[in-house]
Symmetry: C2
Subunit: 414 residues, 2 copies
């Protein structure tokens, strides 16, 4: 079955706001075998809305409208759906009472206008919204002789998502022909971009019944495999087969077959080896530490880190000798190694990680361009340093460098 998601609200047509609910809804819909064929974003003008709703009804089976259910004059979704289908709106007495009760608990007097949230489209039922005042609506109807399903759900993400999960999905599952969705997520780090597609495309294009999407960002690629079939076993088998071939091709670039982040995997291996990690960062400025500590429970394996921008700080916090810095420059393989060794010894961690580089836009020298980064990993046996050259602006270089640093720690632990 084909669906269209319509995000309603003039603010989503400005340069600073974007509908993101639809990504969540799409994932949920795909899981039960419903395709999203169109997404439309429309402002709070009733004429525009009515046109958009009629277009959607003409081209899809399921129409989901998000937003425009609030109490203000700009909230016109109810009215527009009713007009599109020449249906009446009727004020619902129990819902009016519920709105009054809600206002009472908040100790506010409710403006008369708020009562429009109790207007129910002829033939629709309310969808309960425990996180806001405006209930959703569910309408099964016909349009030009075809059966159509229309959902009106609130726009704020913390209202939209639970309402969709709790009220819409169970009802949808009863209507949509049962499909099983098999899903696998593979992740790989630092695979050269030119190689990724050359390597992977010949494999996944041979599986036309598995939808493979590739998301690439700063040294990280994520492959999502989706296969929807009425036969569950067959769907799982097809995804499994393709995943196995892709895993082989990705070789040791692959770090996760379950969707975990690279920092989660690093922490997993640290736990497995009963090892600890400490980091000394220059150009990444705390990004590596921040990524690791974003994972709950990271304190078990991550001892801490230092952000050492200036030469003095490298000496104070990671025991890098001033002479070494003078001799090789702060951005050098030697200083990266000294940072890794210094922070390891100072903290007593099993592994030390050192990162130094030129994130730009300033700081380049004749021999060291913007994007040059040295990363070193040290344990009690030895210290390995790596030279890398990343392209892009300051933030890109920092993202790539943090990804490369985490991946080198992963490889060290494997």
């Amino acid at each position: 079955m084909k669906s269209e998601i319509i995000a309603v609200g003039s603010e989503m047509l400005t340069p600073s706001r974007q509908d993101t609910n639809s990504l969540y809804l799409t994932e949920r819909l795909n899981e039960i075998g419903v395709t999203v064929s169109f997404k439309t974003i429309v402002g709070d003008r009733k004429k525009d809305l009515v046109g958009v709703i009629r277009n959607a009804l003409a081209r899809t089976d399921i129409v989901i409208l998000m937003g425009g259910l609030g109490p203000t004059e700009d909230d016109l979704t109810r009215e527009a759906v009713a007009e599109s289908l020449a249906l009446k709106l009727k004020r619902d007495a129990p819902q009016v009472a519920a709105l009054h009760a809600r206002a009472a608990t908040w100790r506010i007097t409710m403006p008369e206008n708020n009562l429009k949230q109790a207007d129910l489209i002829e033939g629709a039922t309310f969808l309960s919204n425990p996180n806001g005042s405006a209930p959703g609506q569910w309408l099964e109807t016909t349009y030009s002789g075809f059966r159509k399903l229309i959902m009106l759900i609130p726009g704020p993400p913390h209202e939209c998502k639970p309402l969709f999960d709790d009220e819409c999905l169970p009802r949808l599952k009863e209507i949509v022909p049962l499909r099983h969705l098999a899903r696998r997520v593979l992740k790989a780090a630092m695979i050269p971009e030119s190689q990724a597609d050359k390597l992977l495309a010949p494999i996944y294009t041979a599986y036309s019944d598995v939808e493979t999407t590739i998301l690439a960002h700063a040294g990280d690629i994520q492959l999502t495999l989706l296969c929807s079939k009425s036969n569950e076993e067959l769907a799982e088998q097809r995804v499994e087969e393709l995943a196995t071939k892709l895993e082989e091709a990705l070789d040791d670039w692959m770090y996760s077959a379950e969707g975990e982040s690279l920092e989660q995997i690093v922490l997993y291996y640290l736990g497995l080896r009963q090892a600890t990690l400490a980091v000394a960062e220059s150009c990444t400025g705390g990004l590596v530490a921040q990524r690791i500590t974003s994972v709950p429970g990271s304190s078990r394996s991550f001892l801490g880190g230092v952000v050492v921008y200036s030469n003095e700080m490298k000496t104070i916090f990671a025991d890098v000798s001033a002479k070494l810095i003078e001799q090789h420059g702060a951005v050098s393989s030697e200083v990266a190694s000294a940072l890794a060794e210094g922070i390891r010894k100072k903290t007593g961690a099993t592994l030390g990680l050192g990162v130094t580089g030129i994130a730009g836009p300033g700081g380049a020298t004749e021999t060291k361009p913007v994007g040059r980064v040295y990363i070193a990993v040290s344990d009690d046996q030895k210290t390995d340093a790596f030279e890398r050259n990343f392209r892009g602006d300051r933030n890109r270089v920092r993202e790539w460098a943090s990804q490369q640093a985490l991946d080198l720690v992963r490889r060290k632990l494997m």
Copy 2:
């Protein structure tokens, strides 16, 4: 004039991809007085595309199609536009030559299929694309008796944005009636959410000719004021007048009237006072350091930081005494102060910042819930510590805490 932006590509109907080019285009279009009335996302099916294009032509004056201009069979935007308007496609000889030349410089033999990128819609002109192989197209035509403008531009952001700026905007400016857009961006930190709207709405709603959008995220609000008028002076005057009133209401919550980030402002004040900053972070795990160092040139005022998760690290890197931690707990106002003082003395910075708290999901105690954070700012005169309680998951708490920490440094410097 009304416009519609159409993003073409099945990948943008998946849960993991989203059109973001349209935000950029919207900003550029708004600046010359063109409103975006609709945004549509459609997959790579010609029938769907033709329907979407016809809808757009029926309801707007300017239709911008992004994507679907590449060489593969899925790239159908040219064909769909031609079909929608019953126009012919003609292979353009100079463009064929250009494609061959481009392939030659890359030392690759070009597949025959690639030549479809040289197909020009009848009446259209090519828009040069120095960053990719597929040129854009510019078409002025009529639809149902009305004048319409259609642009076909490539989808990849690094091709789309420069092409739009260099090729589309200058042509658009000649067609669109001259409007002047006055624009101001105000930013404020840590203003209580409930207060923001109550305070600001009565002010900006009185200026119906100024479009005010408010973007709120983890203790940061951004107000964008836009006013488009044929009279430049009047547009500027209206925005200025509203901005002045809002600035007064925002009082010292406001940190920027020019759109700078909070970390930029902190660095600006540090520079102004010839002061330096060092940070010792526990629960924010490097996020404060990472935000500050994301600004180019931050090394001039930011000496460095330590990420001290464990008690031992607090002692090693920030000279916090083990006894103090035992006495008050690692998450306490006293330890926050000791972190701030310790890092200040250890680095010789003018200001020291200490952050300790419970980001969750684990770690809560009977007296200290998840979200409890202590932040201290220290100079050579005194150390002030603050207790805060933030709501949300681990990442939300960390974001709020880093925002509050930066704002406290800003207030100290003011």
